[in-house]
């Protein structure tokens, strides 16, 4: 969604006219550069496209900043593959894509390491440099900046299922016939593929045997058949609050924090104590990495924006951008952490954040995702 206010358009127009006047004699020589120096296009998850984050940057730079939010990584990456590499300056996706897909495919370009690596020093301890997901596979290049992150497994209404029961039982909650018809499934299909594998007792992030795929298919049919509803974050939170459902699959701080901030602390993202992931882990966590697109005419503002969002006050705004509230890596900096109120820390489950991250594997790419997704979509159709 592009957020362009009348003010920003007028500012942009004014700045454009001024730039034209100033660069008049050199216009032809610097045409390409002049065309992008007051323009920045960001492809991102929701939050970075909010006016709270973008408007101060627009005011500071007089630039026209457009941000479009999408709700899954492959769609964003395919936009670049389909030829929009000339359009976008920054892309903000989950951790593995930059390092494993976008850099090898030359969809993004490295950042000036000396300029940006020091920012990681002040982040939370898990982001200490060299931070794996921000680096190229060979560890030589810095390819993105980390900011928002969070555990993302399932959400329960603790008035109906206690936190302890939910953590101890783990993903078997969704194998329990007694809970059929009492849970929802968030419409976040890449994550649902991970979770169906985990419910089936299989590590999602590996190549699967035909037997494992058959188990996945059976589990998908059972889990989707037993779901009361499938829907977006708002529908899940509404159904939890009203009592239509007691828990929902695929969820965590990112999805439940708005409801918690709205006075429903009984709703809680849960990371199970155990599971089939490496190290016996049961949860999955995501970390967003923002990279500069390999745009032949990259806006010089792209790097400025990456620095801008590191500032404590802006990082706090990013954490509490409209729609979803999340921890940010910059909370390792006291100046940033102090900006968070007690209610805000409660909303993002700061009390259990570290232990939940420790119990979570990091989001990764499922090698046979396409096949698993087709099986899951077929299972969904059998709901009716």
């Amino acid at each position: 969604m592009a957020h362009i206010s009348r003010r920003s358009v007028l500012q942009g127009m004014g700045a454009g006219v001024a730039a034209l006047a100033a660069a008049g004699p050199l216009f032809n020589a610097n045409k390409a550069f002049a065309a992008r120096e007051k323009e920045l296009n960001i492809l991102c998850w929701e939050g970075y496209n909010s006016a709270q984050v973008l408007d101060p940057f627009r005011s500071q730079t007089g630039a026209t900043v457009k941000a479009e939010s999408l709700t899954n990584d492959p769609t964003m990456i395919n936009r670049l593959r389909a030829g929009e590499i000339n359009t976008w300056d920054l892309i903000n996706v989950n951790n593995p894509w930059a390092r494993k897909v976008m850099l090898p495919e030359k969809l993004i370009k490295p950042l000036p390491k000396a300029e940006f690596e020091p920012f990681f020093e002040t982040m939370l301890p898990m982001f200490k440099p060299p931070y794996k997901w921000a680096m190229s596979e060979d560890g030589a290049e810095l390819i993105g900046m980390a900011q928002r992150f969070g555990p993302y497994s399932y959400v329960v209404n603790t008035d109906k299922i206690s936190r302890k029961t939910a953590e101890d039982t783990g993903w078997d909650l969704f194998n329990d016939p007694a809970l059929a018809g009492k849970y929802g499934i968030l419409e976040s299909d890449d994550w649902n593929v991970f979770n169906i594998f985990i419910i089936a007792g299989i590590d999602p992030f590996k190549v699967h045997t035909p037997d494992e795929m058959a188990t996945f298919e059976e589990t998908a049919k059972k889990v989707f058949k037993g779901a009361k509803l499938i829907g977006d974050i708002a529908s899940m939170n509404q159904a939890l609050i009203s009592g239509e459902i007691d828990l929902h699959m695929t969820g965590g701080t990112y999805s439940v924090s708005p409801a918690r901030a709205d006075g429903h602390p009984n709703l809680r993202g849960i990371t199970p104590l155990k599971g089939p992931l490496p190290g016996g882990k049961g949860g999955i966590a995501w970390i967003e990495i923002t990279s500069t697109v390999n745009n032949p005419n990259l806006s010089p503002l792209a790097l400025d924006f990456l620095k801008y969002v590191q500032a404590p006050d802006v990082a706090h705004k990013v954490a509490f951008a409209e729609g979803t509230f999340n921890p940010v890596s910059q909370m390792g900096n006291k100046a940033c952490f102090d900006l968070f109120t007690k209610d805000e820390l409660d909303a993002i489950q700061w009390d259990s954040l570290q232990e939940e991250m420790d119990r979570s594997a990091e989001y990764d790419i499922v090698p046979d995702y396409d096949k698993a997704l087709d099986l899951m979509n077929a299972a969904k159709r059998l709901r009716g």
Binding site: N72, R81, K228, A234, S242, G243, E244, N377, R383, G384
Partner: protein, 305 residues
Amino acid sequence: MADLAIASPSEAAAESAAQLRRGRMLSVGARCALPVAILLGIGFLAPLVAIFGYAFATPRSFDVFASFTLANFATLFDTSNTVWLSFFWSCGLALLTVAILAVVAYPIAYGLNLVFGRWSALISVLFVFPLFVSENVRLYGWVLFFIKSGVLDGTLKWLGLPGGPEVLYTPGITLFGMVYTYLPFMLFPMTLGLALVPRDLVDAARDLGAGRLFIWREIELPLAMPGILIGMLLTFVLAIGATAEAKILGGQSIIVISHDIEIAFTYSQNWPLGSALAVVVTFFIGALTLFALSKLDLDRMLGRR
């Protein structure tokens, strides 16, 4: 005179050149239609051509117009593919929506023409008014109405009654949502259709001793049929592509065909398969519409020939 004599040949030449230019140029009508033609070319035909091109591209690729394969259609028509279920639900719900709306909208259309009198305009506005509000917002409104502890359930409990029925997240509520959403699209063509029935004919039939049912069956219904059929066609075409009702009210208790197309373009990132599905659905609806229109001879129905 000398000037005139000199000027004449050049004027004649200029005139003949102008005639030639006019001959080569488009007619006035064609020139006036040019902006619309360009707009349709860019806004309507171009996306259709792109979708058509993608339908024959290598699965899960972006090789549009650079590859040709029937693999996407083979996948769709594979017997193990359950996409027919989505197609079945979309067609079934669209047919049911049309049938229910025909019964519901007819009395209202009749009332708007003959019963409500000077209130007709106001009542028409009331039916049009919801169209000014986004469909999703209206559907979320219904969720708040039907949800546990929502408007209906809460009010009934407040009155000491057992509470509202559990209707959300079912195929039934999806059908309700579709009937609600598409009511105006059936109602107004039907109202126009009924307005075409000359009252003199009805009066004459009554004078000759025809009963109410006979008049309705032999005069009103056939003469109002153009409006009724157009309403049915319009509603069916819109309803078969409906997604929001099944998602928001129905909680995806069923997957409709347009949702399957959406999944192919988003999470699956299989644009060629999504395009092939869109092409199949478009051809199905197109064929059905052309068939209906071939049976629906408006000129004959309106008595113009």
